[in-house]
Symmetry: C2
Subunit: 358 residues, 2 copies
């Protein structure tokens, strides 16, 4: 698992491409399915030998499937910490999946990283498909074909009454979770982010920060996902999200941006230009601050506030990932403690932020 993180030039990550529908607000769409193999206990009750067998079955069927050529298999128990952390930062495995020494793996489509299948995380398999922008239907079609292809080769734990069986009851049924990663700097600057939180809560949606559960919304990046899957079809869950909920949030954010530009243009110019100035001049930079500054610069680019002296969006997006601790250390080529990372991060940002302009 080195190719997608080799150099700063090629980062692959689908969710940072800033392409696809509504990508001014929606960074990425994600669909994930929880699947378990029939004939094996759920993981909380599984022995180490069970896990090993599950891993073998998954590997054979995932790699032998039609998808074989583009998928690379990463045995996590054998991977160095830094490599596992890189996968977390790329949103290809969960934080939880990066920890421990149980037999577990992830299969990732390369180089696009749109598909990732975690094996032995909370369920035997967690299949995820990601797309830039608001493209849940497209993501669902993709994951559905992957799911079918795997299901044709092995037997899932399934109950005619409940649907797909999962380790955690909240996933029983379709086993689907859809989530959308949104960039909401306008609502944040306008002090209206609670509007989204309230609306989401009213619809049983979870609103989280950049790196999933418990993480703060650093960089004004929020994930909104559904909470329940039982009793509704995948398409119903998806339609709610793609046609009603997310378009409403997108409109909130666009309205906030328009209002800011009309009513408080100088304030937005000040914040975005200062953020760019800080990125170009800092000699010490923490990961969270970097992300927050890059977020403001991204907003400035979306609102055309920089005229000719701004950086390119691709450089800003790439740095959102490269300034994360593990990516930073990969880019530098050695492990660094926190104090060293702050220096290296600032140096990297200064070297890369205007790369596209030179």
């Amino acid at each position: 698992m080195t190719s997608p993180t080799e150099g700063p030039g090629d980062i692959g990550a689908e969710w940072l491409r800033t392409a696809g529908p509504d990508s001014d607000v929606v960074m990425s769409s994600r669909v994930r399915l929880a699947r378990n193999l029939a004939g094996f206990p759920f993981l909380p009750k599984a022995s180490r030998e069970d896990r090993r067998q599950i891993l073998d079955i998954a590997r054979r069927n995932v790699l032998d499937a039609a998808l074989a050529k583009q998928v690379m298999w990463v045995d996590l128990a054998d991977s160095p910490t830094l490599e596992r952390q890189v996968l977390v930062e790329r949103h290809l495995i969960s934080r939880q999946h990066a920890k421990g020494d149980e037999p577990r793996a992830v299969a990732v489509s390369s180089p696009d990283e749109r598909l990732a299948i975690m094996v032995n995380e909370e369920d035997h398999m967690r299949i995820q498909v990601m797309r830039s922008g608001l493209a849940l239907s497209e993501a669902f079609d993709h994951i559905d074909s992957v799911d079918d292809s795997i299901e044709s080769r092995l037997e899932y734990a399934f109950s005619p009454r409940f649907g797909f069986l999962t380790a955690c009851p909240t996933n029983v049924g379709t086993g689907i979770r859809v989530s959308v990663m949104l960039h909401l700097p306008g609502l944040k600057l306008a002090g209206e982010i609670d509007k989204v939180r309230r609306a989401a809560k009213g619809m049983s949606l979870a609103v989280r920060g950049f790196y999933g559960e418990g993480s703060d919304a650093v960089g004004d990046i929020y994930q909104i996902s559904n909470q329940t899957t039982l009793g509704r079809t995948e398409r119903q869950v998806l339609d709610d999200f793609e046609r009603q909920i997310i378009p409403k949030v997108i409109e909130y954010e666009r309205h906030a941006r328009r209002t800011l530009i009309q009513m408080r243009r100088t304030l937005v110019e000040d914040r975005t230009h200062r953020a760019l100035g800080a990125l170009r001049s800092a000699r010490l930079l923490a990961a969270d601050e970097a992300l927050q500054l890059l977020s403001l610069v991204r907003l400035g680019l979306m609102l055309n506030l920089f005229s000719s002296d701004g950086p390119e969006l691709a450089d800003v997006s790439r740095l959102m990932l490269l300034t994360q601790p593990a990516h930073l250390q990969k880019a530098i080529g050695r492990t660094l403690d926190q104090a060293q990372r702050r220096i290296a991060r600032a140096d990297l940002v200064r070297a890369e932020i205007d790369r596209g302009r030179r």
Copy 2:
């Protein structure tokens, strides 16, 4: 009183020239004498007619004295608020002297602004001489000759027992106050500014911020002055200051800067470069923040941290004055409310900070 503030190019102010001994730490040295005319009540008891007569006598004798040619007379009761505020910002009159409608004036040597004589402030006359850097003896020689010249033309209120008589008992005796304006960003960054405050307190010295009594030490600029004048000669007061007290503070500051550069170089580089980045990119800038950022850039210049991409010291010093509210409005050419000033200040700084490099 327009010539010294006409354009951003020529600001005259002696205390911002960054010249003279120890000007890496000492911005300016100031000596001031409190003098009253014999035969008139002190100002708290003086009638409007008394004040008018005092003003006439002072004007005639100050302007007729040998210094006549270089001195300009500003009748403050007739001056617009903005002009008076400009004089405060140039440290030529006190805040108190800028207020009210009593007959009062200031005589200022032009264009060097080294000499200023406030008439009808707290005493009938307050004579002040300022010099760049640590140059109290030189300032004293100058003020002494001015004092002699004035005294040869009129009679001061003087008691053989107490010395010069003044409205406030703390000034009785020599009537002298010496003060030094220090730039102490090193001690501030190192968190050691209390060291100076404690030492000063132990020696009955006052430590104040940039704009005298009650003002905070914005921009890491501190004024240290003596508190008592009774029972000691001018030379004793002066010698204490110039040979013992201030050299100690200068050494504290230089030690703090050296230690920062040796032990925490990246931190200082970060703060100074970020400050410069903020000045170059802000679209909204409050006066205090501008001064604080300029202070850090001044430190960066003193420590040679900017290599070739730094601004020139002269531009930084000039902006320390030009970003003050009244100077800003003079530079723009019209009165502005606070919100407008923040925009205009940011625009001015961006236009002027790299003036010398172009």
